[in-house]
Point group: C2
Chain length 213, copies 2
DNA sequence: ACCTGAACACCGTTCAAGT
DNA sequence: ACCTGAACACCGTTCAAGT
């Protein structure tokens, strides 16, 4: 986990991990069947930190709480966030959040099929909201510096676009390039989702097409 | 691209691609500087299919159209969807969609900072909505069969959970396990986002915390 | 129960060389 | 301009063996 946090997922390697543990690469295969199992265990470790909120009965509040609980668990390990999507239905914490989301969506008036899809979409939303938050090496100043340089290059590239074609991007190059997911931003993204669920349920409900207002 | 569609991203390998082209691995390095450039080109190829919708002036309609345009481009290549996130700001089509999203969010009443974040979050939503849609090998029946088996196992695992703890998951195991992103589902996810943007803007607008109703 | 060592089939990539 | 060949440093993993 320290390895992944410090140097990114790409650094999580049987051989590098073994070296970090002062052991032979093959030693890991006693504790774990395959590398996939190892990274799954990593994701599970992240999900272990999920504090499942208790139900209040207000589905909006409950859905928001479930998503924010996931966000809170992912926050310390943004590098590992993309991994947890595949583990949500295999981990008790992930299952609890899925259960909560599913019930909230049903309570909002969505039918079982859309609710099932939206539940997973909801949790994925929380995941993407924190993904790519911090770059690869947030620890050492070298990585941070390089990341900062890349941001500046990106921002400059946006600012240099033809303003007649991309006026908004040029005007707000800084905001677009550095759209880091602060707590307020992530909370906003969650809010957008929750609010949208209510609106969509209010006008479409069960099987109706979502386009007709 | 055919390789990625048929066997998944993991099969996209310098050596395998070279073999498929009947050429030496090193031959590729004449046309491409690095493997990362190669997969970036792959993502760009997907974005080439984006048909940028014309503006109507109604930001809700325009935002929905932009997201659906991205969805339409990603649909034929769900395996490659996760790649395009990193290319959105480097490709004309992606830039056009980003520009459109940014303007819509500003028009909805969001300040430049939240709008910048939400614009990228919007496009990521479209991406996740189609991601993992089809498994790895949708072509050969062997892969399809294996995928079907995995689905069934997943569904059975959900159905076998303690019903007192996960009543909704147990009751709707089928819908959760097979939450494939049909067109209607993806449209619903887009609708949830668009609706949420309006709701959040209506009550929070510029800098206010998103939690207070 | 836990680890080592040698080996295998695969990676991406460099660099000098061919035509 | 485009491709080859040999080489290097890295992968995940098997399998037999040690203690």
């Amino acid at each position: 986990m320290a390895l992944a946090d410090a140097e990114g997922l790409g650094a999580v390697t049987v051989r590098r991990l073994a070296a970090a543990l002062g052991v032979t690469p093959m030693a890991l295969y006693w504790h774990v069947a395959t590398k996939d199992d190892l990274v799954a265990a990593l994701a599970d470790r992240v999900l272990d930190a999920v504090r499942v909120p208790e139900e209040t009965g207000d589905w909006e509040e409950d859905l928001r709480a479930a998503l924010l609980a996931l966000v809170a668990a992912l926050r310390p390990h943004p590098q590992l966030a993309p991994l947890v999507a595949d583990r949500l239905l295999e981990h008790p914490g992930g299952l609890a959040l899925s259960e909560a989301a599913l019930r909230c969506l049903a309570a909002a008036g969505h039918g079982p099929q859309p609710a099932g899809y939206l539940a997973s979409q909801a949790l994925r939303t929380a995941i993407t909201a924190v993904t790519g938050d911090r770059p690869a090496g947030a620890d050492d100043p070298a990585g941070a510096q390089e990341h900062e340089a890349r941001l500046r290059r990106q921002q400059a590239a946006l600012a240099a676009l033809p303003p007649d074609r991309y006026p908004a991007l040029v005007a707000h190059a800084a905001e677009v390039a550095r759209c880091t997911g602060t707590d307020a931003h992530v909370a906003l993204a969650v809010d957008v989702f929750v609010t949208g669920v209510r609106g969509a349920a209010a006008r479409g409900a069960v099987g109706a097409g979502p386009t007709a207002p």
